[in-house]
Symmetry: C2
Subunit: 441 residues, 2 copies
């Protein structure tokens, strides 16, 4: 019997703990796995040997919560309940890191150290949950292990990223829940938008530096009963401020209100980020939209595209306008989860363990869509080759964006719609989310 | 038989349509009411006679949605279903306005006009849903009617405001749902906060220019399983930037992360708004925190206190810090409602109609808490005198804020806790909120 080690990496999502819960559940059920270790703070925690023995910690936590449990079945049901709570807990219960291992061809010391640590703790299965950078870790580590002729350590990736930019998978765990939060928030802001009898433009800024998937999800919000137009600008298409103002102006001729969604990463044809336009300061005697990209505090701006557009609408059209940054909440809203997303995320976790048990090394637990646009949505699970995935970013295909570059096509909507379906919410206690916190030693 | 007119006013909330639904439901059930008119865009719509006949529009909308209905019971159940959907739809389905009637002692023309309009449409009952300003309208109009010796027109107010700043009621409809959204969002951001192994401060900015009730609700978020400290600054206590930095520094000595919540309206001892400090720009050679209160675009800033504090933490402490404005979403999140809030809001609507039918003029449908801190939460409904309510703002009592001015007391928590209890969500269709849109002619 060997031990299993799991760690989480990269930016928080609302679904990464669902994958963790799937991994723990599958590992608990397996006769081939002895201990389940969780590493604190990703691969950095592995290198520091900061492990929690979940095989002990989870039952202990259940015992603490419900008092002494004599009955095995009650303990087991308590464990499943804690795992269900974990599945709807956002962020990363084990903690995360943003750490890329060095290229082993240049410096293999970290890889040697990882093998030593795995040996010391009798770890035969390592599951790493994360996005592009984490799959790079899985790729390098599994290649290193293979090159050393080691066959009794299996390294498997489990995907997550709200950005939906991973290759080798139809869509990414965490994306559906973030997309649902964005669509719900815009549907709600649309109710705000129409409330007064005055022209009004709301400009929402959605996460996505290089991939516009989340911004595309804004199109799901559009109320089927109302006629509020949506203008949606993805980072995949060069952004033209003049064309944007004309788009808004044209919509305002026919409608009282306009809803706008932009990717935080929108850039102009010259590659300059729109958020960097914000140094425009007419008081300083500058003209045009050029500037230094510094905010009022003199800091380099990394978000703020919506604020720039707010100003441009104010200046050029003069109607009421409000910029709203959806900020961190879009990736951690455990109170509004896509059931599809959470169920798939759990299953991808379970499958990752199965793949490791089957002796796979250097793959990512993945899914492909097997339904056409007219069929009931269905996926099948498989092992994707990690070399196809690491260090690449999948963006929204140009043909899924309309020719004007201010909306998405029906094909894009068909792709997105099933991913936000089903409502799942976190556990509540006294009216407030009650999240799983895995106890440290 | 007389007709009933209802209108909505002031800023959107997640519960104002629940009150509207209660009013419509009670009026539909009454044999003493003929037609139910809704005015578009508040008292301005009344003055412009922009009415929807809800007695016809609502059944027509149900018929449209489900096809021809022969059976009366099916239509009735369809109407109740639409009203249930309306109850969980945010903003204001009839539209709203921010319009204060002139003092009738100076200019009574609007009041004369309102009486004419009421007579023309045989309106005997006028229910106005709103906050402070709307209760001012109810107050002036009912006094005017009484002074004229008119006895067959009843004017009744129904409360709403997320700010919870109305006198004459224990707590305001809309507040509980906004408080729940804020508590849930902070609970989620707390999961974000602890995810990396580095010191981190998140500073959330909550609505409230003069009343800190919503900011106090941040205290409900604190996870019972985690040890993340919360620092909460309400607008009721003068804000001291130096003390704030010391508070954060002290917490960071003991803890890796700190969660901060501030009211948008926090002011210093001199009465200057903290958001106006943002013109601090060291590049311009200024020192201290003085400045012009202009943003990078040269606009007067009306929010942004959290950004100012973000900068102050960066400069004085130097750790990772992020400002998050909860923005408009905190008042329109129909996907996460307090069941207590929505049920009470509906009942206050029903009671408003009952009060009008009983001949009350110049009152607000209200509730008082009849339970002590140790008892199960209970309220009773009554008619509050409108003169006690209009044009005043109820703030958080100083004794409910701790002596350091950076947190709230147990008494405050006891007051807040029941108000966010129970989970109620909007209707969903294809994974996205499906809101009630009342059809215009």
């Amino acid at each position: 019997m060997k031990n299993l080690l799991v760690a989480q990496s990269g930016g928080p999502t609302a679904a990464i703990n669902a994958t963790l819960a799937g991994i723990i559940e599958r590992a608990f059920d397996s006769d081939e796995i002895d201990r389940i270790y969780g590493a604190d703070f990703g691969i950095q925690g592995v290198l520091q040997q900061r492990f929690i023995d979940l095989t002990e910690a989870i039952p202990a936590q259940v015992r603490d919560e419900v008092g002494d449990i004599e009955n095995y079945e009650t303990l087991e049901s308590g464990v499943y309940r804690l795992l269900a709570r974990l599945s709807t807990t956002p962020a990363a219960a084990l903690g995360s890191c943003r750490y890329k291992l060095k290229d082993p061809a240049e410096d293999s010391s970290e890889f040697e150290r990882l093998i030593e640590i795995f040996r010391a703790h009798e770890i035969g299965y390592f599951i790493y949950i994360g996005g592009n950078d984490s799959m790079d870790t899985v790729c390098k580590l599994s290649d290193f292990i293979r090159a050393r002729g080691i066959t009794d350590i299996q390294v498997v990736g489990a995907p997550k990223t709200i950005d939906n930019d991973l290759y080798g998978i139809d869509h990414c765990p965490g994306f559906g829940s973030a997309a649902k939060y964005i669509a719900a928030s815009l549907a709600e802001l649309e109710r705000e938008l129409v409330v007064y009898d005055t022209p009004y433009v709301i400009i929402t800024e959605v996460m996505g530096r290089n991939a516009g998937w989340l911004t595309a999800a804004a199109a799901l919000a559009k109320d089927r009963n109302s006629r509020v137009p949506y203008l949606i600008y993805l980072t995949e298409v060069p952004f033209d401020l003049t064309a944007f103002i004309e788009d808004v102006r044209a919509e305002l001729k026919e409608n009282r209100c306009v809803m706008v969604a932009v990717s935080e990463g929108i850039r102009d044809r010259a590659g300059r980020m729109i958020c960097e336009y914000s140094s425009l300061n007419e008081n300083a005697g500058r003209s045009g939209y050029g500037g230094t990209g510094l905010d009022a505090f003199g800091h380099k701006i990394t978000s703020g595209a919506a604020r720039v557009l707010e100003h441009a609408v104010q200046k050029n059209i003069g109607c009421k306008v409000r910029a709203i940054e959806l900020n961190l909440l879009q990736r951690c809203a455990g109170h509004i989860l896509s059931e599809t997303d959470i169920r798939e995320s759990q299953e991808l976790g379970r499958r990752a363990v199965s793949l490791a048990l089957e002796g796979e090394n250097g793959c990512m637990s993945s899914l492909r869509r097997v339904s056409g646009p007219e069929d009931a949505y269905a996926v099948e699970y498989y092992a994707a080759d990690i070399h196809e995935i690491a260090n690449r970013e999948k963006t929204v295909p140009r043909e899924w964006i309309n020719s004007e570059g201010n909306g998405v096509t029906e094909d894009c909507l068909h792709y997105l719609q099933p991913l936000v379906k089903g409502e799942l919410s976190c556990e509540f206690k006294d009216g407030v989310p009650y999240y799983a916190v895995l106890r440290r030693r």
